[in-house]
């Protein structure tokens, strides 16, 4: 238990995290490239086509990972919000600020791929289907947090206000999800729903697993780098940031 306690204590100082996470971004980046590359190649070229949807189902190899990462980004933001409000940890605020653009673009990707996936099977660009609808709501939740952070000038207040909003959003996500699903059963004409892909043979879900892991590594890489830059920006008046800048530019 002691190790966790000291680790938690150390996390309180952004500088410790900055030094410690120097190589994370690179490691995550390489892992992401490998996993995503392998998963995409396998999914695109080698996995068998779906008997109902034909080859358009390959979009799933993008849609599912990005949707998962998008939802976990919002979850991370909510948890960072709790940590910020309860333990006043500055690092949590930097993480919450850094995750908004990434989460937003992941949701955007999931939204586009979801919509495009529906086109061949239903002939329309937009389908009111559980996947696309929940991604649309998540997109607006992200935009809300981003807009609030942008609207408040004082940094500390903006961080705490966004923390409250993220927590409220996090609590509401399951409620929204289930009411949307219930609403879909009310209006869903076709019984076939794209949500649960039919039980897939291993040659189909293996690339999916690779892509999901790859997307999470991508999230790790981009997030670490964004957090480290955020730390430098927050601590720019301190002496150690000046040293870092000199070393970097020397």
């Amino acid at each position: 238990m002691g190790v966790l306690k000291t680790l938690w204590h150390k996390l309180g100082s952004p500088r410790w995290f900055y030094d410690m996470s120097r190589s994370w971004s690179m490691i995550f980046g390489i892992l992401a490239v490998l996993l995503l590359g392998a998963g995409t190649l396998w999914g695109l070229a080698y996995a068998p086509a779906d008997y109902q949807q034909g080859n358009s189902f390959r979009i799933m190899y993008l849609h599912v990972p990005t949707a998962l990462v998008a939802q976990s980004s919002y979850l991370m933001m909510g948890i960072a919000g709790v940590v910020l409000l309860v333990w006043r940890m500055k690092l949590a605020d930097v993480l919450a600020a850094a995750i908004v653009p990434i989460g937003f673009s992941m949701t955007l990707i999931a939204l586009f791929t979801g919509a495009i996936w529906g086109k061949p099977t239903w002939g329309t660009w937009w389908v009111w289907d559980a996947r696309t609808t929940s991604m649309l709501v998540l997109l607006f939740l992200f935009i809300g947090v981003g807009a609030l952070r942008d609207a408040i000038t004082n940094l500390e207040t903006a961080g705490r206000a966004c923390a409250v909003l993220a927590i409220v959003g996090m609590i509401n996500i399951p409620i929204i999800k289930y009411s949307v699903d219930w609403w879909l059963t009310l209006h869903q004409t076709s019984s076939f729903s794209l949500v649960e892909a039919p039980t897939m043979p291993s040659s189909m879900w293996a690339p999916l697993l690779l892509n999901v892991l790859g997307m999470y590594c991508f999230l790790g890489a981009v997030l670490t780098s964004a957090v480290r830059t955020g730390i430098l920006k927050r601590e720019q008046n301190t002496a150690w940031v000046n040293e870092v800048v000199e070393q970097e530019l020397a």
Binding site: G54, S105, A226
Partner: protein, 76 residues
């Protein structure tokens, strides 16, 4: 290889347009994210270096008086 030829791979039984469109968009946005993050880092170092040189020229101690730092760090 599931497809017998490269052109079949491109055409993907008629669904190629949608598959490649979504992969293209995703690639675009992912690269956009990476570039955005790297640029933010580079810009910070450039700006900070300028601030340092300005401070050295004007000889003031790294200012930490004055109001809570109002600089907004994030962008959407």
């Amino acid at each position: 290889m599931f497809f017998d030829s490269f052109s079949a791979f491109l055409e993907m039984g008629g669904h190629g347009f949608y598959v490649w469109l979504s992969f293209g968009l995703t690639g675009l946005l992912i690269i956009g994210n990476v570039v955005h993050v790297r640029m933010a880092r580079r810009n910070f170092f450039r700006e900070h270096a300028q601030r340092q040189t300005r401070r050295k020229r004007s000889g003031t101690v790294p200012s930490n008086s004055g109001q809570n730092q109002q600089h907004k760090a994030t962008e959407l």
